[in-house]
């Protein structure tokens, strides 16, 4: 599965902010922590802001805060803002490919996409926070 860089940045930004919704997160710190270009991060944050997941504040350095519903927002809700392919796996592969070989490969890829979709759709930001906390306990 191919997830775009912007999607990974979006997931990291949302999760960082959702870990402490009362806190203003500094975008410069997030850019440094995850090794992302501040310009790319700003673009992603604008998109997340328009979707109502983050609230950004201007001013020195700029910051943002999680303002979505962590219990009702799934990973797919975030991913769908940046990826079209995972949301709609190509079930029409039988018509699109001329050869049986390509159709068989497409059938396997659709199976993988369908599984990914089910996983992303069922995991909420709140569930991820639980996972992050358990990960943090085992290794800071």
């Amino acid at each position: 599965m191919n997830i775009q860089k912007s999607t990974v940045i979006a997931l990291c930004s949302v999760l960082e902010a959702a870990l402490d919704p009362d806190k203003q997160i500094s975008s410069a710190e997030v850019a440094e922590k995850y090794g992302i270009s501040p310009h790319h991060l700003a673009k992603v944050l604008r998109r997340l802001g328009r979707a109502g997941l983050l609230e950004s504040s201007r001013g020195v350095g700029g910051g943002y805060r999680f303002c979505g519903n962590a219990k009702r927002t799934t990973l797919m809700d975030v991913i769908a803002l940046f990826e079209d392919k995972i949301v709609e796996p190509d079930k029409q592969f039988e018509k699109q490919y001329a050869t049986a070989v390509e159709r068989a490969i497409a059938q396997v890829l659709v199976e993988i996409d369908e599984t990914a979709k089910a996983v992303f759709n069922s995991i909420t930001i709140a569930t991820m926070i639980g996972l992050i906390e358990r990960q943090g306990r085992s290794r800071p």
């Binding site: 759709n121 709140a126 569930t127």
Partner: protein, 169 residues
């Protein structure tokens, strides 16, 4: 999964009539013969399908198992059944070491989002733990998002099991 230590106490002050339900308002206990008709009605309300004979068989099967491997719990409030969970300890199912399986969980729509299912699962897990199990597992349809989100919220992740099927043509 965290153990459930919220027990119902007779000394608790009565909640005001308008207060939302809390998990402690429900008594989680093993199913009894007298629950059967209520269970049939609750299931018909949730699934929209009347399955009286299925539930009678399921109950008989549960009672007949003398080895403590079958678990069938209900959530009760004011003498009404608001939810149920069915589980079983299965040895070497699909070639995997003994573990606790959850076969079904449901809560009446009116009682949802009050932590009832969480308490039912906690109670089932406590029984599995007492029986020496270290894992709980379930199987569900991948587009059943409501139940999937519930299990995910309880920290459940994919098991090393894949279901496969093919058309019988």
């Amino acid at each position: 999964m965290k153990a459930n230590n919220k027990t119902k106490t007779a000394a608790a002050p009565p909640a005001p009539a308008s207060a939302p339900d809390t998990p402690a308002d429900y008594l989680i206990r093993p199913v009894r013969a007298g629950d059967l008709e209520k269970l049939i009605a609750v299931d018909a309300q949730i699934t929209g399908i009347q399955k009286a004979e299925y539930w009678r068989q399921r109950f008989r099967g549960h009672v007949a198992r003398k080895d403590q491997s079958s678990h069938f719990l209900v959530a009760e409030k004011n003498s009404a059944i608001e939810g149920l969970i069915i589980g079983e300890i299965r040895d070497w199912e699909f070639g995997t070491p003994p573990c606790g399986w959850v076969f079904g969980i449901s809560v009446r729509p009116e009682a949802r989002l009050s932590g009832v299912a969480t308490r039912l699962l906690d109670a089932l897990c406590a029984s599995f733990r007492l029986a020496g199990m270290t894992k709980v597992r379930t199987l569900l349809v991948s587009d059943d998002l409501l139940v999937m989100k519930f299990y995910r919220s309880q920290g459940m992740m994919a098991a090393p099991i894949i279901t496969l099927e093919r058309k019988l043509d």
